[in-house]
């Protein structure tokens, strides 16, 4: 039962990683690529690490993985915001 639940979560995370990668390769602009990369950074990482927590059970390692989830969810939108601001400033100065 636990293995089935873990496989469902892990396959969902891999699906979102695949969708984000195809978006990064195919979309035409920097900002749309940033939008597509956010799918990888939030939902894909959350589903994969939740699958590992389910696989491990409740222990100290699970709390560490939960800490990594919270850290990724805080820092990844911050990094994307800084990159988008730098790119916007560059395009505003090019004109």
């Amino acid at each position: 039962m636990r293995i089935i639940l873990m496989s469902v979560f892990l396959l969902g995370g891999l699906f979102f990683f695949m969708v984000g990668t195809i978006g990064i390769l195919r979309l035409p602009d920097v900002f749309t690529r940033a939008h597509s990369a956010a799918k990888c950074d939030t939902l894909g990482a959350l589903l994969c690490m939740t699958a590992l927590i389910i696989y491990n059970g409740f222990s100290f390692v699970s709390l560490k993985i939960l800490l990594i989830i919270i850290f990724v969810w805080v820092t990844s939108p911050t990094a994307t915001h800084l990159i988008a601001k730098a790119e916007y400033l560059r395009q505003a100065n090019m004109k």
């Binding site: 690529r33 950074d41 990482a45 590992l52 850290f71 990724v72 990844s76 800084l82 730098a86």
Partner: protein
Amino acid sequence: MKMLVFSILFLCLTIILCMFRAVKGPSAADRLIAINVIGTKTIVLILIVSFILKEAYFVDVAFVYALISFISTVVIARYIENRWRKHI
């Protein structure tokens, strides 16, 4: 266990596909976005490897990798921003 090995191979494939955008990207922001996504995928990869090898301390390695990836992204983004802020 087979599920974990399959997910590692799939993550390696998507990392290689992201590497195309990091090499070919027209501007610096494209490369930075691709490198950021590769960092997130590497964190998940290290966690899955730690469960395959049953080594619990790899989780700490993944956490330190998350810290270093965030710091490097912030520093390079601020460098691009300050380079263009001088021309105003």
